[in-house]
């Protein structure tokens, strides 16, 4: 297992008030992303645990594009990776960002 931490600056804080969101499953070729609003508003961290070592630069590139596009400031993304390809990683990150920015459901 390899763990990676990527810390980036986000120009805008994530919208909404949800504390956390989770998407995806640690299945073959998939990953889970846990988003938690626990950081300072201009910070965005990705903590990655992956079974496939040696893809640091690719994770960096995916993370950079993701934060550039969605700017989810204040959110820490914790990732358990089951060997997902970068396109799936990008989709799950975007899904997690969208979900944590959704309004709280009425109960």
């Amino acid at each position: 297992m390899e763990t990676l931490t990527i810390q980036l600056q986000a120009p805008q804080p994530a919208r909404g008030r949800r504390a956390m969101a989770i998407v995806g499953v640690v299945g073959s070729g998939d990953l889970e992303v846990l988003a938690e609003r626990v950081l300072a508003a201009e910070e965005c961290h990705l903590e990655i645990s992956t079974a496939i070592a040696g893809f640091g630069p690719v994770w960096q590139a995916v993370a950079r594009d993701f934060v550039e596009r969605r700017s989810p400031g204040g959110v820490r993304f914790s990732i358990n990776d089951g060997g997902a390809r970068p396109d799936i990683v990008a989709i799950r990150l975007a899904q997690a960002a969208r979900l944590i920015e959704e309004d709280q459901p009425c109960t």
Binding site: A61, P86, D87, I88, I91
Partner: protein
């Protein structure tokens, strides 16, 4: 005086040698090897019918059982090298030389045998090239073919999987060759005559159907969100603007996704009747929802597909059927249709290089070409116009006067930036080149040449190569949709943004597509069972695709 009938005399001697084993034309399955030993001569060119689907499996086993002392150094000329027995013939020395087109399931072994010198290679062809050479310099002395049934006169019913048979028989029978057919049963009257009996010299009663592989069944349950996204991009970014109505689809999951998005995503875009109405295509089960929703007008097929016979029989307005009601397929004609009558080919590949050349070989596998290059190439002989063809031509050459400007076929490569086992789809150098080095081939096995490719679709966007004006632009256009592969990461970001501004590169957002909307619930069918429901219970999928 010159002797002008030697071949006919030789053919008659062969028939005479075989006739002792036959009752009329009928030979018992147990005598098949003796028949082949009697009829075939060492060094003969033999077509052992191996198509990409149906297989003359009994005759290939019979040939393999022949005595190599009597039968050897044969020159096999067949489109498909698919069964293990096809290669065992070379191991045993019965066969020596090979000209073929497709070797999907045997791709690793054939590579090893080519490398080890067990096989003397003529050439790897496309289907149309091999069929063409049957009539020029690779005419079979003996054709071993497969049919569903025969009558006692040798009239053959090839059924839905007619495939290569008419072409093979035409070349063999009319040039004084011998045609031997294995059939599932002998009947009093065949349901329809696919091959007239006077072209068939012997019929071996196999007592069981020939082997057929379900090659074109894609389980919708396995289609991913990324494939759905690429399919959405293709429909909205290529099918719609060019108005593509006549086309061929490859067999990958992205094109299956396109088929399943027509009645949902396509419907919402108001494209029904405007795109995807006429196909050169096998009976893909994934196309059933689009057919049922009224999208498709007509389909001509290379072969059939396991489980589709009942559905096809009930939809003769869509498919080509015989007097018996079942599908009539014909690989040669459908390939010609794909080459000349279609405005678009869209399919997937394993590797694409910086010039857009693509290949499905790896260093240890030689899968052959099959028909993709016939479909996936610009037909330089084409003269009839159509809107998509003219528009693509104008994209490529805005300068020449319209009456003198060639059109272009749309040749689209669609796929995810990373494929199976996270292998990148985009590479600096094709593995095919290394393979060609190792095997000392004159040509690297390139499936689709870069100068034929017009568009590349990935989850990152569409690259329209018709709009590129230099090799450097072309390279950046390809890098610009290559995602996080090494090729993609090495892009010139500024150049790529420039190409995007010119519409050479189109991102999902440029087309108004949110990647997060690429959801499986968009698929008209999400399982094989859904396809069965769409078909009204007429589609009967093979057991291995079922979960009920």
């Amino acid at each position: 005086m010159a002797e002008w009938q030697q071949n006919r005399a030789r053919r008659d001697r062969r028939i005479e040698a075989g006739i002792k084993l036959a009752e009329g034309k009928i030979v018992a399955a147990g005598d098949a090897t003796r028949l082949l030993e009697a009829v075939i001569q060492p060094g003969d060119r033999v077509c052992l019918e191996g198509d990409n689907q149906k297989q003359a499996d009994l005759l290939s086993a019979a040939l393999l059982a022949a005595d190599p002392a009597r039968l050897n150094t044969l020159h096999m000329v067949q489109s498909g090298v698919v069964l293990p027995a096809h290669l065992d013939l070379f191991e045993r020395g019965i066969a020596k030389r090979l000209d073929y087109a497709y070797s999907g399931p045997q791709s690793a072994r054939i590579a090893a045998m080519l490398f080890g010198g067990k096989i003397e290679l003529g050439a790897v062809h496309t289907y149309l090239e091999l069929f063409a050479r049957y009539f020029i310099d690779l005419t079979p002395h003996v054709a071993l073919i497969a049919a569903v049934s025969a009558d006692r006169d040798g009239n053959l019913y090839t059924g839905p999987n007619t495939e290569d048979t008419p072409t093979v028989v035409e070349a063999t029978a009319f040039k004084d060759g011998i045609v031997i057919a294995q059939v599932g049963e002998i009947v009093d009257h065949v349901p329809r005559v696919d091959i007239p009996g006077d072209r068939v010299h012997f019929v071996v009663d196999a007592g069981r159907p020939f082997f057929v592989e379900p090659l074109f069944t894609r389980d919708p349950a396995l289609i991913t969100e990324t494939q759905i996204l690429t399919a959405m991009l293709a429909i909205k970014g290529i099918y719609a603007p060019y108005g593509v109505r006549r086309l061929n689809h490859g067999i990958g999951f992205s094109t299956a996704a396109i088929e399943l998005l027509l009645p949902t995503f396509g419907e919402r875009l108001g494209l029904k009747g405007k795109i995807a109405t006429h196909f050169a295509l096998n009976p893909h089960p994934a196309l059933i929802p689009a057919i049922e929703a009224g999208w498709v007008e007509q389909i001509h097929s290379f072969g059939s597909e396991v489980g589709m016979d009942g559905y096809i029989r009930a939809r003769p307005d869509i498919y080509f059927t015989g007097s018996d009601g079942s599908l009539r397929s014909n690989r040669a004609f459908s390939q010609v249709a794909g080459l000349y009558a279609c405005d678009m080919f869209i399919g997937s590949t394993l590797q694409i290089d910086l010039a857009g050349n693509s290949s499905t070989v790896t260093t240890s596998r030689v899968a052959g070409f099959g028909g993709a290059p016939n479909m996936g190439s610009d037909a330089r002989g084409r003269r009839h116009p159509s809107e998509p063809w003219l528009k693509a031509g104008a994209d490529a050459d805005p300068v020449s006067p319209a009456p003198l400007r060639r059109g272009r076929k749309l040749v689209v490569q669609i796929g995810e930036t990373f494929g199976e086992k996270n292998a990148p789809q985009f590479v600096e150098r094709l593995d095919a080149i290394e393979l060609a080095d190792r095997l000392k081939l004159d040509l690297a096995p390139v499936m689709i040449y870069g100068d034929d490719v017009t568009h590349i679709v990935t989850e990152e966007g569409i690259a329209n190569l018709l709009l590129c004006r230099s090799p450097a632009e072309r390279e950046q256009a390809i890098r610009g949709v290559a995602g996080y592969t090494d090729v993609g990461l090495a892009r010139d970001r500024k150049a790529v943004e420039g190409l995007r501004a010119r519409g050479v590169i189109c991102r999902p957002e440029d087309l108004g597509i949110d990647p997060l909307d690429a959801d499986r619930s968009l698929l008209a069918a999400r399982s094989i069972k859904d396809l069965v429901h769409w078909s009204g219970g007429l589609y009967d999928p093979p057991s291995r695709f079922r979960n009920w």
